[in-house]
């Protein structure tokens, strides 16, 4: 299979679409990932099922016992939370475990740098790939939400780009953290950061169960902003305050990306 057989990626990304960031060859990396994952499609597809199982169990099953929250049935409340969690998880795992493996063991990036690819191409290519993958999961989950009647408004169309923003923010910071990791043991810290966020950031219940101090702490965490945004969009409760959430995630992503780019350059070229 040659790259010419993948017209879709060429159409989507183009050969020269990312000139300023590197050698304009990020698309090649995306094509490579596509080819790799053609053989790992089961791993790929299975990622979609986890949030769906959570939705059916906690949202629908337990939801019958919790009653309405914030004026909507429980499943309607939980679903956008799970969408945000899924965007976060997908992005972080790709940017941490996979990237670490590629840098440290597979030495894939080193091999790539022996070709006309530059560090910018590699970083951008892998980021685009991770975003495409996340986008696929998010779109599938949104379609399920739509089919189950959990979407209340046309604003939900914006949910898709927002999942990309959430994914970008977490992938960038995840990649920046990965560049400091020494061994697999350090990845326990990733779990240590993700798990409490998943459970406490309001995916499953409103922050009103907490006292004031805990609330402020949770509102400082990035996942909360993703959940807040996506919930507002799917329930059609849009207000100006949401721009703060967007700003938070955008700044987080840009800072993370700047750190990651600098560190990767150092790691790969010295």
């Amino acid at each position: 299979m040659t790259t010419a057989d993948l017209p879709l990626t060429r159409l989507l990304l183009g050969r020269r679409a990312f000139g300023p960031m590197g050698g304009g060859k990020a698309g090649v990396l995306v094509e490579r990932n596509l080819m790799v994952y053609r053989r790992l499609w089961l791993t790929m597809v299975s990622g979609f099922f986890e949030p769906l199982f959570y939705l059916l169990s906690i949202g629908v099953g337990l939801g019958k016992l919790t009653g309405a929250i914030d004026g909507v049935p429980y499943a309607h409340y939980v679903a956008p939370g799970l969408l945000a969690v899924s965007a976060m998880n997908g992005a972080v795992f790709d940017a941490t475990f996979n990237v670490f493996f590629k840098i440290k063991y597979a030495k894939i990036y080193d091999a790539m740098l022996a070709t006309p690819l530059r560090v910018g191409d590699i970083a951008l290519g892998d980021i685009i790939w991770a975003q495409l993958r996340g986008l696929m999961y998010s779109a599938a989950f949104l379609i399920v939400m739509l089919a189950m009647g959990l979407v209340h408004s046309w604003w939900a169309l914006l949910a898709l780009p927002v999942t990309v923003l959430v994914g970008f923010a977490f992938a960038a910071v995840g990649m920046a953290c990965t560049s400091f990791m020494r061994s697999w043991q350090d990845f326990d810290l990733v779990t240590l950061a993700l798990m409490p966020m998943f459970l406490f950031s309001g995916a499953f219940y409103p922050l009103s169960v907490y006292n004031h101090q805990v609330r402020i702490l949770i509102e400082a965490l990035p996942l909360y902003h993703g959940i807040d945004l996506l919930r507002a969009l799917t329930l059609g409760r849009v207000h100006v305050g949401l721009l703060w959430d967007v700003l938070y995630l955008a700044v987080m992503g840009l800072v993370g990306a700047a750190v990651a780019a600098r560190r990767l350059e150092k790691l790969l070229l010295t």
Binding site: L40, L42, T43, S46, G47, F49, E50, F53, Y54, L56, S57, I58, G61, L62, K64, L65, T66, G67, I69, Q185, D188, T191, L192, M195, P196, L199, F200, F204, Y205, V209, Y210
Partner: protein, 277 residues
């Protein structure tokens, strides 16, 4: 390879394998604390206590059974089930990658059978080690439950919650035995992610941990009843809340022991085939 004559399995030989694994664990235990203790602990706080506030105020507050004539709070309903889940997750975690690693990457199994240990001793020794890991995690989890007020002094002498720990260990072994037996046959780790995603997580979510199985659609219920996790959850919950009947305890024990027995038989074959070809 025909020169290798497996020595008949003896408990003392399996204990040697166990001792080797314990020596290794004494150096690497720190990392395991986060995944095996923190995850259930945080679930208990977030879902049992915080979400529990909402569940207890909701229309289904009386769906979790009664103890001493009073409806069971969600935290008390969830905690023993999370105990059983801790056992399952520890068991599956310890029976997948570490087994493949010992077989393929580090080849410690080969080292073991080059000593007087038989392939069955190696299998049994690993199971003893996993049993120890499950016991450790479950005991810690019970202590956490007590700390958060998630135990109810039930059963004989109020020891019901304590009895739930050996029940959880048995539940864990009902997963560890067949999964270890199968994992040794694997040459790639793709099967493991399938087990995590399509066995462990669905069981966690649909085997009566978060809501009674009777709430599931009728068509799916028999599936839930057939899983070892449901038996473990129901056994741990019954013991911890003091609602277990002799009949139900017996049924669950027989089921779990049968699964362990079948796993031992299967593993004896797979380990022999792989290690003494």
């Amino acid at each position: 390879m025909s020169a290798v004559t497996p020595v008949p399995a003896t408990p003392t030989m399996a204990v040697r394998e166990l001792r080797g694994l314990l020596t290794n664990y004494a150096r690497t235990w720190r990392g395991s604390i986060i995944s095996s203790v923190l995850a259930p602990l945080l679930s208990l706080v977030a879902l049992g206590m915080s979400l529990g506030k909402i569940v207890d105020a909701g229309p289904g507050a009386h769906s979790f059974g009664t103890v001493d004539g009073r409806p069971v709070k969600y935290l008390l309903f969830l905690a023993p089930a999370l105990l059983a889940n801790t056992a399952m997750q520890t068991a599956i975690g310890e029976s997948t990658y570490p087994v493949m690693s010992s077989m393929k990457w580090q080849k410690t199994f080969h080292a073991s059978i080059a000593s007087p240990l038989s392939s069955f001793d190696v299998f049994l020794g690993r199971l003893l080690f996993v049993g120890f890991r499950i016991l450790m995690n479950c005991a810690i989890f019970l202590a956490v439950m007590a700390l958060f007020g998630a135990v109810h002094a039930a059963g004989p002498a109020g020891l019901g919650p304590v009895l739930a720990v050996p029940a959880a260990v048995l539940t864990g072994l009902a997963f560890a035995t067949p999964v270890t037996a199968w994992a040794v046959t694997q040459d790639r780790d793709t099967g493991f992610s399938v087990v995590f995603r399509f066995v462990m997580i669905p069981l966690f979510l649909f085997s009566g941990t978060f809501f009674p199985v009777t709430r599931l659609p009728v068509a799916i219920r028999p599936l839930a009843y057939a899983t070892p996790l449901w038996h473990g959850v129901d056994l741990c919950r019954g013991l911890a809340l003091g609602t277990a009947t002799a009949g139900s305890v017996l049924l669950h024990l027989v089921y779990l022991l049968a699964v362990i027995g079948a796993g031992l038989w299967y593993g004896a074959r797979t380990f022999r085939r792989r290690l003494n070809p």
